[in-house]
């Protein structure tokens, strides 16, 4: 394990949404600040900086994690995925993102990136995730706008579609 000096900046390199990235960080710099202010990927949001609200959730080597409780230097060499990596193309949305739009699963959209990263991990790991599984996964996220019901609908619909069980129902 490399020794890091508290008052020195260190080169940090990892893979972000499939592309290599690098930047300098003091050992104490949070991954959220590194993603947002060093790399300019502002899609990952900061809601509490103490690990409760879940807005900053990213995937580190495939597992959902709080970027606000992670130091940038900890992810050296890791594979990181953020909300910017979910859509298949700049002008297209993923199935999960489509479902959120169809069911009004977001209002202000501030907590949404973290929620999408958690659900994306669950649905890719467990395509047969039940309503209880989804609820459990979402329990690590705070949303103040929607009251969660539209998020549950969006997630259930996305799970169905990812299993190939029908299209996003148009919201009447």
């Amino acid at each position: 394990m490399p020794r890091l000096g508290a008052d020195r900046r260190h080169e940090v390199r990892f893979t972000l949404n499939g592309r290599p990235v690098e930047g300098e960080a003091e050992p104490r710099m949070l991954l959220t600040d590194f993603l947002r202010h060093v790399l300019g990927r502002t899609g990952t949001h900061v809601g509490c900086e103490h690990g409760v609200c879940g807005a900053c959730t990213v995937q580190i080597d495939g597992a959902p994690a709080r970027a606000c409780l992670t130091l940038a230097v900890q992810v050296e060499g890791a594979e990181i995925r953020t909300v910017e990596g979910l859509a298949p193309a700049p002008d297209r949305l993923s199935v999960l993102q489509e479902s959120f739009r169809a069911h009004h699963g977001l209002q202000c959209g501030f907590c949404t990136p973290g929620i999408l990263m958690s659900l994306d991990e669950l649905l890719s790991r467990r395509p047969d995730a039940s309503e209880d599984d989804i609820r459990h996964q979402l329990s690590g996220h705070l949303c103040r706008c929607t009251g969660y019901a539209p998020i549950m609908k969006a997630a259930l619909d996305a799970a169905r579609r990812l299993r190939g069980e029908g299209e996003t129902a148009a919201d009447a």
């Binding site: 509490c48 900086e49 103490h50 609200c53 700049p90 501030f110 103040r144 549950m152």
Partner: protein, 986 residues
């Protein structure tokens, strides 16, 4: 979807906002680029609820790496004036503490540095000497003659006291066969948007002007408050908002004191300054709703009809009366009779100040406090008179034929069918079945209850209602205030495409989508043809004091103004088209992207072609038509007049109706409340977008559920703040929020352009009391207090608990209301007692063994000073400790007492240490009691016991190691577990 006659309004079209928000391309304030050289600020905040500031030493902070400026209250006062206070009283309101702190979290100093990390480093170096003062937390206690006075200039804590009388209330009480009275408390909570405050400020000394970007939400009447505090005319305060804002629910109105602070900081630093609030700052110091103590009495006929109400409200606005407070108390003034036809009303309104966070806008704004009293009273009337609560509601609802109905206190209830909506809700929501479920549950011995509420949801506030806090003569002197100016601009560009701007500043409500629908309908286009901007710039945009996103004014007022602006522009374009098509303007229709003749559909041209005409060929315009390019509408309803001489106030323009009922079960063992079914019927007038209306209802419901069951700003008697993290302030998650059954009726408003009414705040008013009524019904309680946490309900289910065994009895605690800690343990050291004793008194050894010690100084044989860094949970900070030794019996026992203070708060404690020597080894026994206050108590409360045990255990383990021995009860498993919780121990 483009069938003839069908409108876009009323359809749940997908939101234009979503694609960017779902892909990480939102533009929230902290996502935007700043100018090179922009500095960042951190704010040092008070750890005390009430204390004098005796001295502040910022020299070390000024000299720290990266620091450009450090400001204290004195620096801010030198460049600003006190923010305007809304009552006639000798009160000042500064955005930063000057001579004393009045709540935990109050700004004390601002550090401006090249980045936030360095600013926070320097913040730790500021030394503030406080002299603690007794605090007052309870609003009724604040009125007592001997209560600590928070603002000496006021001389007491009562900031306003007004009485109102409508009809003949005394006669009605005298004549009524029943008088039913309740006393209730509404707790303090906040809607805590997930995005916190953000400000980027810049000062131009050449023009003496400020340029500020902030995620402010309005009302823009506050712009005048800010510019006045900064001592510049309004045109020298350019206030802009970012395109996206991460929720507000009223809270982001409260960013304005920080706009003043950052504007001054930028001026002093000579560079742009950015400040992004963190969550710990937000919970302690942003804005909360008011808590209120209310006594309410009703004169009641035998059939349950209420003939008079007598209100006595004591409103707790916290430590400062910040604009627009005491608006929370007056927002409902026209609606003090709720959904009921009560003609005689007495009101006494008092506003008090306490050592708590200043209050401000919060979803529901005054409604939750009023309806908690009124609807608890209605249930109590039913109980006391032996009536069905539904019959009491029915007997009192404003009759359908009575609309528009003027309430006793002056509101004009514009439209509705209250009884019809209620009966429909009972039928469609399955009320009969719910009664059967209750009976079945009760037959099994379970605690099941049903609650009801009927409320009027006001929207589009009258800017004049707050002046009801003034006596009529004072109002006359100040000049009339009224109205609710809404602004919209619709324009066409040289290729005929349409742009809309409103001064509304949404925080996720989908305004851009709905405005696209509204304008597309008027111009015969598709919503995707319309581009809508909702960010604000006070220098370039059309706006007025009522601009902003609050009081549920978007659908009724702002969308209506956009409809009017589009209609005016359409009429201009129609005149151009009439000339081109050679028909009369009245014959022109806009449909399917074309403009044509109604009588001859073949005779039509593309919309874009006609719309572009003024740009390209103004000479071809019809006689008398200047242009057809842009229309700005300022719309204010004539119904919103200023309060009358008799204090009648039409406080809001339109009034939706909500009827809620729910079935709840309370767990007999745990006291947990489970919502079995929640039915909410809304009549919010015309629905512009059903999906968004549903989202407003489910979102408001979740806020209300939090207020009912979990959320409370909790304070200790000494003013310490005890709910400073999201682990202590419990926001409901998906596990706690059931999906309510949503029902709708549509009674259009006759006073708004589109017939719509507000819908976003209603459940915050109806739901807390509906759940409270259900719990009261389930448990047979006369009084219920929110939040209905299991610990409180369990006290009604079980006998009082006995104190846990083995805990030493507390001696008089040094800090009343602070967190109390107790502990004891032993450690074994492989050295004789005298050696251990010498080590304990040796500063060199102590510095090595005290966890996190930077320096230990021996002042005298019985007085030590230490400088230590400790962390608990999410916070870590430096403490200065003074330790005194007493009762020394060398080498057998010693009593330590000490005090600590630092950026994280303060503490005091006492420890008793014994040394017992056996076979050259020494057993150290220790017992301690401590009281902790300030930030560490707020944010790490639940971790404190474990952290204290860990630190003290670590001390003795380290001592043992130092002497070459082993600690006694230092089980590594426990240590490892605590270490994980314990963020910063070095």
């Amino acid at each position: 979807m483009e069938l003839a006659g069908q409108t876009w309004v009323g359809q749940s079209v997908p939101r234009v906002e979503d694609a960017a928000l779902l892909t990480g391309r939102g533009r929230f304030i902290d996502d935007l680029a700043t100018r090179p050289g922009t500095l960042e600020a951190a704010i040092l905040r008070s750890p005390h609820g009430h204390a004098e500031i005796r001295a502040i030493d910022v020299e070390k902070a000024r000299a720290a790496r990266g620091v450009v400026a450090v400001l204290t209250g004195r620096d801010v006062q030198a460049l600003t004036s006190s923010m305007v206070v809304g009552v006639k009283a000798p009160l000042e309101c500064w955005p930063i503490a000057t001579d004393r702190v009045r709540y935990v979290g109050e700004p004390v100093a601002i550090v401006v540095a090249t980045n936030r990390y360095l600013a926070e480093d320097a913040m730790d170096l500021i030394e503030v000497e406080y002299g603690a003062l007794p605090a007052v937390i309870d609003p009724l206690a604040a009125l007592e003659a001997d209560a600590p006075v928070i603002h000496p200039s006021l001389g007491r804590n009562l900031a306003s006291d007004r009485s109102f009388r409508y009809g003949e209330p005394e006669a009605a009480f005298a004549a009524a066969p029943h008088r039913v009275e309740i006393a209730v408390r509404y707790p303090r909570n906040s809607c805590t948007p997930i995005e916190c405050y953000g400000v980027v400020a810049e000062y131009d000394p050449g023009e003496d002007s400020y340029d500020v970007l902030a995620n402010f939400q309005g009302p823009f009447s506050i712009h005048a408050v800010i510019s006045r505090a900064l001592k510049v005319p309004g045109n020298r305060l350019r206030l802009r908002t970012p395109p996206d804002s991460g929720g507000s629910f009223g809270v982001k109105q409260g960013v304005f004191p920080y706009i003043v602070l950052m504007a001054v900081a930028a001026r002093v630093a000579g560079a742009p300054v950015k400040w992004i609030e963190d969550r710990l700052e937000n919970l302690a110091g942003a804005v909360s709703a008011t808590n209120r103590a209310t006594r309410l009495a009703a004169a009641v006929e035998r059939d349950g009809r209420i003939t008079a109400l007598d209100w006595d409200q004591v409103e707790d606005c916290g430590a400062h009366l910040r604009a627009p407070e005491p608006a929370t108390l007056y927002r409902m003034h026209g609606n003090m009779t709720g959904a009921y036809a009560v003609r005689n009303v007495l009101i006494r309104n008092r506003v008090v100040l306490t050592n708590k966070t200043p209050t401000g806008l919060n979803r529901g704004f005054g409604g939750p406090q009023v309806y908690f009293a009124l609807e608890r009273l209605v249930q109590r009337i039913a109980l006391e008179l032996g009536l069905d609560p539904l019959d009491v509601i029915r007997a009192n609802l404003v009759p359908t034929a009575a609309f528009p109905y003027k309430t006793a206190t002056g509101a004009i209830l514009d439209s509705g069918d209250y009884l019809g909506s209620m009966e429909a809700a009972l039928l469609e929501g399955g009320h009969a079945e719910l009664l059967r479920r209750r009976d079945a549950a009760r037959a099994e011995g379970r605690l099941y209850g049903i609650g009801y509420t009927a409320v009027v949801e006001p929207s589009v506030s009258n800017m004049g209602y707050i002046t009801a806090v003034l006596q009529p003569a004072e109002r006359k002197k100040a000049g009339p205030k009224n109205g609710a100016q809404a602004t919209a601009t619709v324009a066409v560009d040289p290729v005929g495409s349409v742009t809309v701007h409103v001064a509304s500043v949404p925080q996720g409500q989908g305004h851009r989508t709905v405005l696209g629908q509204v304008v597309a309908d008027v111009l015969g286009l598709r919503p995707s043809d319309i581009r809508v901007a909702t960010d604000m710039d006070t220098v370039k945009d059309a706006w007025s004091i009522a601009s902003g996103n609050y009081a549920s004014r978007f659908a009724p007022a702002v969308a209506g103004a956009a409809h009017l602006a589009a209609t005016r522009l359409r009429d201009r374009i129609a005149r151009v088209a009439a000339g081109q098509l050679n028909v009369r303007p009245e014959d022109i229709v806009f449909r399917g992207g074309r403009i044509g003749s109604a009588s001859n559909p073949e005779n039509a041209v593309p919309f874009t072609r006609v719309a572009a005409a003024t740009h390209w060929a103004p000479g071809t315009l019809p006689e008398g038509l200047e242009h057809a390019i842009r229309e700005t509408v300022f719309w204010t309803p004539p119904e919103l007049a200023a309060p009358t001489e008799a204090d009648e106030v039409n406080s809001s323009l339109c009034h939706g109706f909500i009827f809620d009922y729910c079935g709840v079960e309370v767990d007999r063992v745990t006291g947990e409340v489970r919502i079995d079914r929640y039915v909410t019927m809304h009549d919010c007038g015309r629905i512009l977008h059903p999906g968004m209306v549903a989202g407003q209802v489910t979102g408001g419901f979740a806020h209300a559920l939090g207020a009912a069951l979990y959320e409370e700003y909790s304070y200790g008697a000494d003013g310490s703040f005890q709910s400073g993290t999201f682990a202590d302030y419990l926001v409901p998650t998906v596990m706690e929020v059931p999906e309510p059954i949503l029902l709708h009726r549509e009674t259009r408003s006759p006073v708004t352009p589109l017939g719509a009414k507000g819908v976003g705040e209603g459940n915050c008013m109806s739901t807390p009391v509906c759940i409270a009524n259900a719990v009261a019904d389930a448990m047979g309680l006369a009084d219920v207090t929110l939040p209905l946490v299991p610990a409180v309900l369990a006290s009604h289910l079980h006998p009082a608990e006995t104190a846990p065994k083995g805990r030493p009895a507390a001696t008089a605690p040094a800090l009343s209301g602070a967190r109390q800690l107790f502990g004891e343990g032993t450690a074994e050291v492989a050295a004789p007692a005298q050696t251990v004793w010498d080590m304990l008194l040796d500063p060199q050894t102590l510095q090595t063994v005290i966890p996190g010690a930077h320096g230990v100084e021996k002042v005298s044989d019985t007085h030590f000073k230490a400088d230590v860094t400790l962390g608990v949970g999410p916070v870590k900070g430096r403490y200065r400790a003074e330790i005194h030794l007493a009762d020394l019996v060398p080498p057998r026992s010693v009593t330590l007492s000490g005090e600590t203070s630092g950026a994280l708060g303060f503490g005091s404690g006492r420890g008793f240490i014994t040394l017992t020597e056996t076979e050259g080894r020494t057993i150290l026994g220790y017992r301690y009691e401590a009281a902790i206050g300030g930030k560490v108590a707020s944010v790490g409360g639940r971790l404190l016991d474990g952290a204290a045990r860990f630190v003290i255990g670590q001390f003795f383990a380290s001592l043992a190691r130092h002497a070459g021995g082993q600690a006694g009860e230092s089980r590594p498993g426990v240590f490892a577990r605590v270490r994980r919780l314990f963020g910063g121990a070095p």
